[in-house]
């Protein structure tokens, strides 16, 4: 079970969190200005990285906040300095 650093509550066990998928996917401010192909990418295409990966977590059973985390998907090691 991962030990996840919530930026608001500190380190808590994984069962308190909900996974939020890849980080830094930004919803366009005006989706109408985005073409179909780009929107399809936004909807469906993820890096699915093997290795370093920036991802979102939500402290669902704690403070409820979303935050980003850098985790190595191969080793499960978390960059504990990078939580933000």
């Amino acid at each position: 079970m991962l030990l996840i650093p919530c930026p608001h509550c500190g380190e808590r066990p994984e069962i308190e969190f909900a996974y939020g998928g890849e980080a830094h996917r930004v919803r366009a401010a005006d989706p109408r200005a985005v073409d179909d192909a780009s929107w399809t990418d936004y909807l469906y295409i993820r890096r699915n990285a093997r290795g370093e990966f920036e991802e979102r977590w939500r402290h669902a059973h704690g403070c409820g906040r979303f935050f980003n985390l850098r985790r190595n998907t191969y080793t499960d090691m978390i960059d504990r300095g990078a939580a933000r």
Binding site: M1, P13, D30, R58, D76
Partner: protein, 998 residues
């Protein structure tokens, strides 16, 4: 029965007390301090099992967790029965009942043993080769028979009578293994002030020290040294010592799973006392001091009962006071077997020969054996053994050839050296490193905050193990932010280092196709099987493992791994590090399921959610159904009523007069803030800005991909406050989605979201008399049709309780939903019910609710939708706020892929011919029922009911291009026939909506 192999003195057993136990129905005796294995050996019993595949008679091979043969079922009755326990780990208690496994009718006369005669026809991979064809024969013929023949123990047939506990723990330093290295590590860490947990699989801490009788430590004998160290540890305030506790798994971020046996060593513990406890320990630092496991030598017929690992035999003599045999042949490539031979010799056994594969064995232990007059045969090998249920003879020969010498014996000891127990380290994803001097993999670069110590790290002497433990404990303490005070090294005497070792199949000069040298005893894998796998082209160690089953099941490489690698290395001509090793998987030893289930059994397995009105419904004799984790009243049968009749009566009542329904499970979210309306605009397809306070609107929620995910009625209480309802199962998902958008995409919006699902009881009153029923109870509001039209709401009191009263209908009738604080739910419900008696109010359940809404063509998200339905697909395009620039899912729906798409499945109604057939939900629609499969599937039934109102069956369906095909006839395939269906509008009843006003 007498313990004729029990020594008169020595060992850590209490001869003053006798424990009676039964094995396979026979009565035996042992002493406190025994394991089941040591007690059986004291009674001269070696034969304890039949092997997995060939049903070969097997004896006790080891004295520890690595035991592959002596797997037993233990338990005083079926409710306390545990299969596949290693007899070497089962602590003896008075009245213990154990049985052997995988034999019929008995260990001595096992009919499955006939398999052994055909062994040449059961090579490695035979499952894959033999049972491929015909396909059905595998499930009907081969698999059941193989399962019956090849098996480990049987699963108990009734529920586990014991209970289990679980706990979390944190510590600075977790030390796994309380042998010499582990104890020193724990002492070093504890002296620094760190919080320490020291766990060990055995009943008493000490590990290898428990069997060590020759050495002296700081001038004291081992037993008193150990006692002193343990008393120091116990005196140190922050140390938790956990005996009988196996560290079975190493999980990410230094979480280690421990399984602590609490009562298995007791006679008949009270079932209210937990049998075991699962610990989830989060350790800042870990010291892995798990020792090393002695390797068997792979010589022909090395698996007969009476053939045992040398160090195990020494342990039985020195720790348990048991002589495993009186006339022993020793076969070794490692010095430690000499210590075993000496221990047996001193205990009165005859050592017929020590055959050493090494041409020139030397060292302190060898010299001691020589001085004791033991017959040492350097450069010799063992070419075969005899004896059916017990070894009776062994033949030794010079390694370089020549005639063999047959020696009578009742015991063969073997030692191929030691394999460090790197399981936990490897589970932690630490890298293993091959140590050529040791011929073994040892822990290299760690991945977690851990380090190995002692024999697990490759030390070969007691002094080195102690020093390595000390150093590891200090390092762990330092890494955890503590400083251990310096300590004196321990003066160790009479404990020489033991070296040597051998990997692979030993030389025997015989036709290797005609002999069996077992590598993996538990899985009946021989040296020949490994060679065969290589001949057939397997090169990867993981493939060889799977093809031969070597190292599978509970072995997990403990005994088998290195010898298999030795054979691969020799045959492929590649060094072992190039071949690599297999992955060590958790658990280290099997853990009963009860540990993992813990408290989550029965009512606590998945706690039920009950509404405030649940007990009332139960008192009325309601039948319930599961909706998510909720229990919902499905229907309220009267005396002798079937479900069909009860639902028909409830439906008639709502349409004719009035019904009352518990809708408390509806999800509820309170959305508050200056930007609440704008937030809803962006989340839901509907337009919210113009919705006036006091009004309701049916909202549709999409995912960003444009598909319907939830729906519900939303009320506006004020400019800045909305009462949102969701589907029963959808509330957590919807709230999480809203939070996601609010926090990450629309952080500029000033809005708060609060789950209020359990704060409100919801009482639906539906039917032409609904207003008449509640009117006398309502204070502070005018609920007349003029003042309070359909889809409006008001804050008032109902039966004296503050309420949010909605005028809303999920039945098509005049209806109200009364939201009151949950604690008053039942009181208000009963008040409404009482008031309704004059109007013949009828309580109805979810089944009637489903029928009534289907008659109106109202969808249920998750029933009419399956995550691929757009609003238009299910007839909800009208809800979309056309002028809105954006909402979640809008851009996806606007893509050409959707906009230009024809033939999407659309919601329609179905009438069956004849009208009394109720379709099956999920059934497929086809055009030609007689066409042989595969037929083109044009749609499927999403809901199907008997409509009491219409006097015929109705159904909703999603059908390709369905809206343009209304009036056409299709066929629905049921399991036994095809039913003609006519497509209709999905609204079956009161299309004009006249009844909404009563």
């Amino acid at each position: 029965m007498s313990q004729s192999f029990r020594l008169a003195e020595g060992g850590r057993i209490d001869r003053s007390r006798t424990l009676a136990f039964r094995f396979d129905g026979r009565a035996y005796a042992g002493h406190p301090g025994d394991t089941l294995a040591s007690a059986l050996l004291a009674n001269g019993v070696h034969l304890v099992g039949r092997s997995f595949k060939y049903h070969r008679p097997r004896g006790i091979l080891t004295a520890g967790a690595e035991e592959p043969n002596a797997l037993v079922g233990v338990g005083r009755d079926e409710g306390h029965y545990t299969p596949n326990l290693r007899a070497t780990q089962v602590v003896l208690h008075d009245g213990l009942v154990a049985e052997s496994q995988n034999r019929f009718p008995s260990l001595e006369r096992d009919v499955g043993g006939l398999t052994d005669l055909f062994w040449k026809f059961i090579p490695a991979g035979f499952y894959y080769k033999t049972f491929m064809w015909p396909k059905t024969a595998w499930t009907r013929v081969f698999e059941p028979r193989i399962r019956a023949m090849a098996g480990l123990g049987r699963a108990p047939e009734i529920a586990d009578a014991a209970c289990y506990a679980q706990r979390y723990a944190h510590c600075d330093v977790l030390v796994v293994g309380a042998g010499p290295a582990g104890i020193e590590a724990a002492l070093a860490a504890a002296s620094s002030g760190a919080r320490v947990i020291l766990c060990d699989e055995q009943a008493e801490p000490g590990g290898a020290l428990l069997a060590e009788t020759d050495a002296t430590l700081d001038g004291a004998d081992v037993a008193s040294f150990l006692a002193t160290r343990l008393s120091w540890l116990q005196a140190a305030g922050q140390v938790t010592i956990l005996p009988r506790t196996i560290a079975f798994g190493y999980f990410p971020h230094n979480m280690i799973g421990l399984a602590q046996d609490l009562t298995d060593h007791l006679g008949e513990p009270d079932d209210t006392q937990p049998r075991g406890r699962l610990w989830q320990v989060r350790a800042r630092e870990v010291v892995i001091a798990t020792g090393a496991i002695e390797r068997p030598l792979a010589f022909p017929d090395n698996d007969r009962p009476g053939i045992m690992l040398a160090d195990a035999a020494r342990t039985y003599v020195t720790r348990y006071g048991v002589l495993p045999g009186r006339n022993a042949v020793v076969f070794t490539a490692h010095d430690s077997a000499y210590a075993a031979a000496l221990a047996l010799h001193r205990a009165g056994a005859r050592i017929a020969a020590i055959a050493d594969l090494r041409p020139d064995p030397s060292g302190e232990l060898v010299e001691a054996a020589r001085a004791a007059g033991l017959p040492i045969r350097p450069g010799c090998t063992l070419t075969g053994t005899e004896g059916r249920l017990r070894v009776t003879a062994a033949t030794i020969a010079r390694r370089d050839g020549g005639a063999g010498e047959r020696l009578s014996c009742d015991l063969v000891l073997m030692s191929g050296g030691f394999t460090p127990s790197v399981h936990l380290f490897s589970q932690s994803r630490g890298k293993l490193r091959f140590d050529p001097a040791l011929d073994a993999f040892i822990p290299g670069e760690p991945a977690e905050a851990c380090r190995a110590a002692g024999a697990a790290a490759g030390t070969t002497s007691l002094a080195d193990a102690l020093a390595s433990g000390r150093a590891a404990g200090e390092a762990a303490a330092t890494a955890a932010g503590f400083t251990a005070p310096p300590a004196m090294a321990i003066a160790v005497a009479n404990a020489p280092a033991a070296t040597g070792g051998f990997l692979g199949a030993t030389p025997h000069g015989r036709n290797s196709g005609a002999v069996r040298a077992f590598i993996d005893f538990q899985n009946d894998v021989t040296a020949k099987d490994i060679s065969l796998a290589l001949r057939e082209g397997f090169r990867s160690v993981e493939h060889v493992k799977r093809y031969t089953t070597n190292g599978m099941a509970t072995d997990q490489g403990k005994l088998s791994n290195m010898n298999a690698l030795g054979i691969m290395s020799a045959e492929l001509g590649r060094p072992i590090p190039e071949i690599g090793t297999t992955t060590f998987r958790m658990p280290y030893t099997p853990v009963p399921f009860g540990y993992f289930a813990g408290y989550a059994r029965g009512a606590l397995f998945e706690p039920e959610r009950h509404t405030p009105i649940h007990d009332w419904a139960e008192e009325q004799g309601a039948m319930f159904e599961d909706v998510g984790t909720w229990k919902r009243a499905r229907y309220f049968p009267r005396e002798g009523e079937t479900m069909h009749r009860a639902v028909a009566r409830e439906c008639r009542a709502v349409r004719a007069s009035v019904g009352i329904f518990d809708a408390s499970t509806l999800g509820k979210i309170e959305i508050v803030g200056p930007d609440a309306a704008e937030f809803l605009n962006r989340m839901y397809v509907n337009a919210w800005t113009k919705l006036k306070p006091g009004r309701l609107r049916y909202g549709v929620l999409l995912r960003e991909d444009g598909f319907v995910i939830d729906d519900g009625v939303i009320g506006r209480l004020s400019d800045t406050r909305f009462h949102v309802t969701t589907t029963t199962g959808g509330a957590p998902r919807v709230l999480a989605m809203m939070e996601d958008y609010l926090q990450t995409e629309f952080p500029e919006l000033d809005v708060w979201l609060t789950s209020t699902t359990e704060q409100y009881a919801v009482i639906a009153v539906q039917g032409p008399r609904a207003r008449d029923v509640i009117a006398p109870l309502v204070e502070g509001a005018d609920i007349s049709g003029a003042a309070m039209p359909h889809m409006s709401m008001v804050e008032c009191r109902v039966a004296g309780i503050p309420a949010r009263l909605f005028r809303v209908s999920f039945t098509g009738e005049l209806g109200f939903e009364i939201n009151v604080p949950a604690d008053y739910g039942r009181a208000v419900w009963e008040a409404v019910f009482d008031a309704g008696r004059r109007h013949d109010v009828t309580a109805y359940g979810t089944e009637t609710m489903h029928v009534l809404r289907a008659e109106k063509g109202y969808i249920i998200v998750g029933q009419e939708t399956d995550g691929t339905a757009t609003p238009d697909d299910v007839g909800l395009a009208w809800a979309i706020g056309k002028a809105k620039p954006d909402f979640v899912g809008k851009r996806a729906l606007d893509r050409a892929a959707f906009a230009g798409q024809t033939g999407r499945k659309q919601l329609v109604g179905l009438f069956t011919e004849p009208g009394d057939v109720v379709l099956e939900e999920g059934a497929h629609l086809v055009t030609d029922p007689d066409r042989p499969p595969p037929a083109e599937i044009l749609g499927h039934v999403t809901s199907a009911y008997w409509s009491e109102t219409l006097g015929r069956s109705i159904a909703l369906a999603l059908v390709r291009g369905g809206r343009d095909r209304i009036g056409e006839t299709f066929h629905v395939k049921l399991s036994d026939r095809a039913i003609p269906v006519r497509l209709t509008d999905p609204v079956f009843y009161d299309r004009e909506g006249a009844r909404l006003d009563g």
